[in-house]
């Protein structure tokens, strides 16, 4: 397989709170995202998913580990082209567009540099791209300053090669949410956009992503293809999230979540398996031994950080 477009390698990020306690927000996380792939990162508040996103785009500096783009380590300062290639959605998109280039020039550069289409089709694809993000064809000859904030947002999505989207739809009304989800799906299908989607909404992640990492307290608890995560979860925390997620036609809130209490803060990470104080299947080993994130014997690409990963958890 080709090198991943984005590689997050043994990333550790910590912060200090006001009372000088150390919060280990991301605690040794590795992820590979291949070109054209959509990777979902799910988990609850404080699990570190947003910190990973911010480390990928260079907004926070890791204590250890690194982020690689096309095999090249992304340093403290990034080149303009690196910044443009990996784009965060729903930040000010102005900084990512060259103010002295028209939209046509910007998009042509993108399509040519990445050899996404034969040169004879570049113009046609530029128009298509614009239509996809809902901008009129005449804007091809406009400069970024001539667009509204929302339009620049969509332009930035259109010209990025990889997008890191942090809860891009969670505050939107459902019908608007559907439009944005469709836009992402279309950009993926037609342009091979690489997507890293951070979300607490499992239905959204299931719709858009090929692979999913479930995070708990700064670590990946489980990682695998969409199908295995949803149909054959091998970590009790994944199981609890799936049970808790509301469903339109369940007609009753879940009775038992298979999870106790609330997450401890990332200041006070439990010894052994960090999930054990809340886990319904924890045993003695879980209190003393921190489980590694390992593949299943039957499916090495399906990783779980549970001592009992070999056992089916059931639905």
């Amino acid at each position: 397989m080709a090198d991943p477009l984005l590689r997050v390698s043994h990333l550790k990020v910590s912060f200090r709170t006001e009372d000088r306690a150390v919060v280990r927000a991301v605690d040794d996380v590795s992820l590979d995202v291949h070109a054209g792939e959509a990777m979902g990162i799910v988990g609850e508040s404080g699990c570190g998913k947003t910190t990973i996103a911010r480390a990928i785009i260079g907004q926070v500096q890791p204590d250890e580990g690194a982020v690689y783009l096309d095999g090249e380590q992304l340093g403290r300062t990034r080149t303009i082209s690196q910044r443009r290639t990996v784009q965060m959605v729903f930040q000010d998109p102005y900084s990512s567009l060259n103010p002295r280039m028209t939209v046509r020039q910007t998009l042509r550069e993108l399509l040519r540099v990445h050899r996404l289409v034969p040169s004879s089709q570049v113009d046609e694809r530029c128009r298509e791209l614009l239509a996809m993000v809902g901008l009129p064809e005449r804007s091809l000859n406009s400069y970024p300053s001539q667009f509204s904030g929302g339009q620049r947002q969509r332009l930035a999505i259109a010209r990025a090669l990889a997008i890191v989207a942090d809860e891009p739809v969670s505050s939107l009304d459902v019908s608007v949410q559907a439009t944005i989800l469709q836009l992402f799906a279309e950009l993926r299908a037609r342009l091979g956009l690489t997507l890293i989607l951070i979300s607490h909404d499992l239905a959204v992640v299931r719709y858009l992503c090929d692979r999913i990492a479930v995070m708990y307290l700064g670590r990946i608890a489980e990682h695998g293809s969409r199908d295995v995560i949803f149909d054959d979860p091998r970590h009790p925390y994944t199981r609890a999230l799936l049970t808790a997620a509301p469903r339109i036609r369940r007609y009753e809130p879940p009775d038992q979540l298979g999870l106790r209490g609330e997450p401890p803060g990332a200041v006070d990470i439990p010894a052994g398996c960090r999930f054990h104080p809340r886990c319904p299947i924890a045993e003695g080993i879980c209190e003393v031994e921190d489980p590694s994130l390992l593949g299943l014997d039957a499916d090495p690409a399906h990783l779980s950080a549970c001592h009992f990963r070999a056992a089916r958890i059931g639905r």
């Binding site: 609850e44 559907a178 239905a203 959204v204 809130p253």
Partner: protein
């Protein structure tokens, strides 16, 4: 027996002169003891304003211009000085942001004990015991210890449980909920929904729950009202409305949503946008966005009409929805 809550022909307006518009128009609904009604719709549909009008907590600039609210058969004033007093012991409300309703410099136990003392007239000791009971009932872990904490020392989920305990502390029969789980993590959301569900069953609490999430409403509520542009466009039993929508807007909302149980469905958005409130379309306000609309929809003032047992819809073409829904 009178329903726990009955709202008839409620109307709320904003603005003056040329800027005047109806945010809530002719809204009627009722909730039985132990029942839960979901109010759903998108931003600007009037669901939160309806809830606030019932609570007597309208924002500045909004005024009730018609309608009545009855709690257990007793009429509640909708404006004026008696608004709060009339609702004590009858109606309470919880909000999306639990911090907004908590006093940051007062221990939470004392905040829960306040109404039992001032409203129910319990002694200091009895009020304190009642507060602990309420905290335990609302699933606050280790209530004795948490009662001595200040709000900022609690997690978001525990704060929302405390807010519910405070809302219940004056023994209301009706709990109005304005997106109380939207800001919470999914596991906490599920626990709060379970708590509200149990409070309905154990205490016969009547609930009105405002949300934009069809999944949340489906799990908690036995009846459902869908609002569009200030009006209820469809109302009925939750299962019936979600399984066989009787209004194209309801079907539109269902098709827009991604759901874990139907992972293959492509979300389809509703075309167009909600009109500017000052320029309400003639006839059915949804007609410019509706694929079922014919010329009659732009001229007929469509009213809610019975379309089955306990179900009403404000659509001239609701019969044609059955076919559309079965086609998916």
């Amino acid at each position: 027996m009178a329903p726990a809550l009955e709202v008839t022909e409620l109307a709320v307006e904003f603005g003056d002169g040329a800027g005047r518009f109806r945010a809530v128009d002719d809204v009627s609904l009722s909730v039985a003891d132990g029942g839960a009604l979901g109010l759903v719709g998108e931003s600007g549909c009037g669901k939160s304003i309806t809830l606030r009008a019932v609570m007597g907590l309208l924002p500045t600039g909004a005024r009730v211009v018609g309608g009545r609210v009855l709690a257990g058969g007793t009429e509640l004033p909708l404006a004026g000085s008696g608004v709060r007093a009339a609702r004590r012991r009858r109606v309470a409300m919880v909000f999306q942001d639990p911090s907004s309703g908590l006093n940051p410099v007062m221990r939470v136990g004392a905040q829960v004990a306040e109404a039992p003392r001032s409203v129910l007239g319990l002694s200091r000791r009895r009020a304190r015991a009642r507060a602990l009971e309420l905290l335990a009932m609302c699933g606050v872990p280790d209530p004795e210890r948490r009662a001595r904490a200040y709000p900022h020392q609690l997690s978001g989920g525990t704060r929302q449980r405390v807010m519910i305990a405070i809302a219940l502390s004056s023994d209301p029969r009706i709990l109005l909920c304005d997106e109380p789980t939207t800001a919470l993590d999914v596991t906490i959301q599920a626990q709060i929904l379970r708590l509200l569900h149990d409070l309905r069953e154990r205490m016969g609490l009547a609930i009105v729950f405002v949300t934009h999430s069809l999944a949340v409403v489906g799990e908690l509520c036995d009846s459902l009202a869908v609002m569009y542009a200030g009006r209820i466009v469809e109302i009925g039993a939750t299962r019936q409305v979600l399984d066989r929508p009787g209004h194209p807007y309801t079907l539109g909302l269902l098709r827009s949503a991604v759901d874990l149980d139907s992972p293959v469905a492509e979300p389809v958005s509703i075309p167009g946008l909600l009109h500017d409130p000052l320029h309400r379309p003639s006839g059915c306000p949804f007609h410019p966005r509706c694929w079922l609309a014919g010329p009659e929809c732009s001229v007929t003032d469509v009213q809610l009409e019975a379309i089955g047992a306990g179900r009403r819809s404000a659509c001239l073409h609701h019969e044609r929805l059955g076919e559309a829904a079965s086609r998916g």
